[in-house]
Assembly symmetry: D2
Homo-oligomer: 351 residues x 4
Amino acid sequence: MTANSQSAVLGVSGYAGMELARILLRHPRLGSTPPIFLGRPDSAAEPLTAVHPHLLDNNGSRALQIEPFSWDLLRDRGVQVLFLATPHEQSRELVPHALERGLRVIDLSGAWRLEHPANRAIYKFSDEGSSVATAIQTQAVYGMPELHRDQIRHALLVANPGCYATSVILALKPLLAAGWVDTTHGIVCDSKSGVSGAGKAPSAKTHFMHAADNLSAYNVFGHRHTGELLEQLELAPDQIVFTPHLLPIPRGILSTIYVWFREPHQPAQVEALYKQFFAESPLVRIFAANHLPQIQYSVRTNYCDIGFHLSADGRRCVIVSCLDNLLKGAAGQAVQNLNLMLGLPEAEGLV
Amino acid sequence: MTANSQSAVLGVSGYAGMELARILLRHPRLGSTPPIFLGRPDSAAEPLTAVHPHLLDNNGSRALQIEPFSWDLLRDRGVQVLFLATPHEQSRELVPHALERGLRVIDLSGAWRLEHPANRAIYKFSDEGSSVATAIQTQAVYGMPELHRDQIRHALLVANPGCYATSVILALKPLLAAGWVDTTHGIVCDSKSGVSGAGKAPSAKTHFMHAADNLSAYNVFGHRHTGELLEQLELAPDQIVFTPHLLPIPRGILSTIYVWFREPHQPAQVEALYKQFFAESPLVRIFAANHLPQIQYSVRTNYCDIGFHLSADGRRCVIVSCLDNLLKGAAGQAVQNLNLMLGLPEAEGLV
Amino acid sequence: MTANSQSAVLGVSGYAGMELARILLRHPRLGSTPPIFLGRPDSAAEPLTAVHPHLLDNNGSRALQIEPFSWDLLRDRGVQVLFLATPHEQSRELVPHALERGLRVIDLSGAWRLEHPANRAIYKFSDEGSSVATAIQTQAVYGMPELHRDQIRHALLVANPGCYATSVILALKPLLAAGWVDTTHGIVCDSKSGVSGAGKAPSAKTHFMHAADNLSAYNVFGHRHTGELLEQLELAPDQIVFTPHLLPIPRGILSTIYVWFREPHQPAQVEALYKQFFAESPLVRIFAANHLPQIQYSVRTNYCDIGFHLSADGRRCVIVSCLDNLLKGAAGQAVQNLNLMLGLPEAEGLV
Amino acid sequence: MTANSQSAVLGVSGYAGMELARILLRHPRLGSTPPIFLGRPDSAAEPLTAVHPHLLDNNGSRALQIEPFSWDLLRDRGVQVLFLATPHEQSRELVPHALERGLRVIDLSGAWRLEHPANRAIYKFSDEGSSVATAIQTQAVYGMPELHRDQIRHALLVANPGCYATSVILALKPLLAAGWVDTTHGIVCDSKSGVSGAGKAPSAKTHFMHAADNLSAYNVFGHRHTGELLEQLELAPDQIVFTPHLLPIPRGILSTIYVWFREPHQPAQVEALYKQFFAESPLVRIFAANHLPQIQYSVRTNYCDIGFHLSADGRRCVIVSCLDNLLKGAAGQAVQNLNLMLGLPEAEGLV
């Protein structure tokens, strides 16, 4: 497979699909073979601009279409990599067929992210426990390049991480890997996300009158991304609390994370630890000690920004992690994974 | 009928109904006989706080309920005035029965606002042209106290004005009534409304991702409130253009209105004309010449604020009119009408 | 002193002063003797509406003025209670003179809230350690009625609590007072506030371009309100972490608070504990177990709303506390204190 | 001069300067010779990221600096094109020196946009009427490529248009040039802009508490951009009214424009006229008849989007024009001008 591999995006009408389309169309190494955009099998073809008017092309020469999905179309057009920006249940159905047909898949849903049945229980997958699903789960690679870069290069199925999970895992992994955190103390992850994280379907929750001028916590002790935290950070359920909140902004996540250290540390030590951990990771930006990222700095970028403050006694640490939930939290990370799968530089088309 | 008359609100779950409940519960002359709140005939009773949690009562002693609608309930509870905060088609159905039962009705929908069939056509009422509907329309009084105060006092059916229409009619009526406006020049009404004007049902239009950080014009040359402007201002269709826009704010309307005068005028003359016209109208506030209202000044009040700027040659006038679309544009004006119908001071419970 | 006591507000031009004016003018027991509004000693008198146009009176008959401050004016007008909505350094200067003149004072600044010098250090008061200041601090009562109701009734100087502190202390006090919290685990308070909390002076932080579509943490391990938490909750500095954030909304605070219990508890027990603690407190609303308040429910009210979720093992508890930072977090609580000082029902004019 | 010409940006700390930096750094033909960023002559050098943290570079290898301005520095570094993102009075001072030194200048301020002294009067330039200023004004080219493409290619001084003016002129020019508009009727331009248009300096107007949840009209009959409309559209002052409004969003302009036609036209004719007029203009997008642009479609792009609705009688036309005030309304248009000056494709680096 080469950089000229043909890709396709199923589910381009949602927010993550929209951002995937935008990135792939401008990708310097993929632009010559634009992705194929796919909608429901029973839908009629329609212009991409009918769904996302701001992706309007001026010259009209690139009349991008959303075509109805079919396996034959993928085969006839020589598709090699399939992005799934589909609901998780649909991803569970499609992935076995895709792999059987020799496609490599980057799945943006939560369908294949979790190894342990207990963590998957919250999704209530209809094929849970089937031999096919179990076999596929074994193959799936959790698509966080900063943790699993080498496996992703050769993966057939990449399970693109959740947006909240990305912001928390990247912020905690260096400290936990170094053994600095006193996990008996309990880690607190207080996360806040813009409304695009709730999806494009109109609902009482996404109504402007509910979301604007408001803030609310939801799914306390019960958010789906919790399982990703437990597995990727190797924590027990009682060692971490994760609370998501709905922010009155279109996009962006800020996670405020509280840990207690086993031993006191200096700010310079913490900064050095982070910088070393992410030395080879072009899409994570570490802020200087006592300087914090804000949501505005990373929105509409593919970066995850991380900063921290240390208490005077050097035992308590507040980490702030920011990213754009549709980019580093979804479509940007998906293309980062694609780059690795195609042997391209990891940040190609993303900075 | 006295100030102790029992009132009922059908459609309390919507935004206008919510504001009606809030105002009526605090009304100094009606608080002792709180209104009856009604939902669909086939709904179960539920606490008002289940629908509008911010109306939570602390002490629990006033356990307000939304009860299923029935004519028998209205009769048994001695209801004399019925507020309809219902869709217009439903108001067309209910009003004949209500009047037959001797109820006085304040209808917040567009069902009975328009006298001329041509102006009503846009609503496509299913009973259009029926003898019952025609007879009722004849009785209906357009519920703008500043224009029809005396008729409202004795009305059986008050058609509460549209929110946009209220902001435009109050701003233009004094100038037109004085004969100052050169209507051959064309009057331009550029109106902007917060999202609550689009109703509580979730839709693509009211999704936070569409409304936030955006502005859009809609229903150009085709908004339902246009007929109210034509009838109340006695204008021909080609004498006025009305363009509504969706603002990224929860509530409030600002209309910017452009007129050409027949003769030049001084700012002091214009200010005096407005102040005289509204001298007896406690819920219209006229700003000093060259001082303009802003949306923030009238939001969460029952006022309509009006200001203007005059060109150096005294021939062109830009009028700015602001109000809260849910209050002076809906529930506040409805209670203003109730006050008149009950012989109370017009602004009772509203300032 | 009686309910007809004359009050005065110094610093009416700020947001807290604005809300004080609004509440006092509508207070059913004080409306007949409207407060006196005061600005800087060297300022000219100006209409209240010049500073807060939305407080416009329609009829013009109540031509409220902001008058230049002087002690003589307070004496001549018979002022008995003085509200200070002034910067803390100014409150340090004014309070000794006010008490000497026999005035009772409700100070909305941070000048007199903290008993221990270590907690006050962050303010760098210029009179720190002076015998006058020390004597006055001894007299000051922390103005949180739910904790110090009886002392407030007779207080000469009430130090009105900080907005963040109110939201955190009310949420934690019942659990700590009952001895349920394992304080060795560390309590985490993640608070988020609307922009009005940053004051009215234009700054880079309050610029729309910085605040909108953004979220940022600030003053980590160093916010002034931390001392109030330590003193009122009787905690050591290493037992609690408090992180404030700036929300892109005009007003409202939501605090998400994380505690570990010594023993497991049932949701019903936690709910009962809260309800009992606040049984006599009309301005605290306890939500049913597993139902959380949102910022919208308490904004523009004088309530503090509290809800919680318990982990499955009953050992970890996430509490969410909401209030309007300008009302229960400032002006509303100040009037609640005034009511107690005047022997009125605590919630008079506030519900 | 070639595409490798060295450029410099003075005033990079403001919003337009920030966007200039962003575009120039990613420009495919200029990226190899990054622009020089300049601050005040008496300022110390500082990293670009100190002022605009979101422009952070990950790898640290491109340690962009803002350097203190001096003519010697420009000479020593071989600067050939100077962008001025400075206040207009400063641009009046600097341009004579720059031209004398052989630099070509793209000035984003209002300093050199207006030919007629009457239209310039509102700026109160301190050098108004001086022979130097008059000579320079004669050389200045109004930098709207869609109208003055050929002159811009060879210009020494390009006066980059105002943001409001761009949105109105592009929308009206085709209709006026075709002679379709009945100018005796009066053209109404009702424009709405996001807060970035008000600049970066904190002020009461740009305070979040004023701008959010609000809408206000300002500078009625007196906005500085009016002169640009008169000159570029060749209209008399009484033929057009322009009213700007402040929107509660960070960026974007929507202008709603009302014209009366001399003769009735069909929608298809209007659409064809626009498409023909802008056939060679890659940064103007014409929407199909009766389809309107919204602010969201053009924000963060370099396009101006134009759509319209026609009344049933074909005599009245409402045109809606949208652009990003910092891009097509400022920095994007400035780079479009640079492209022309350097002989590059007009939209290079902008689509």
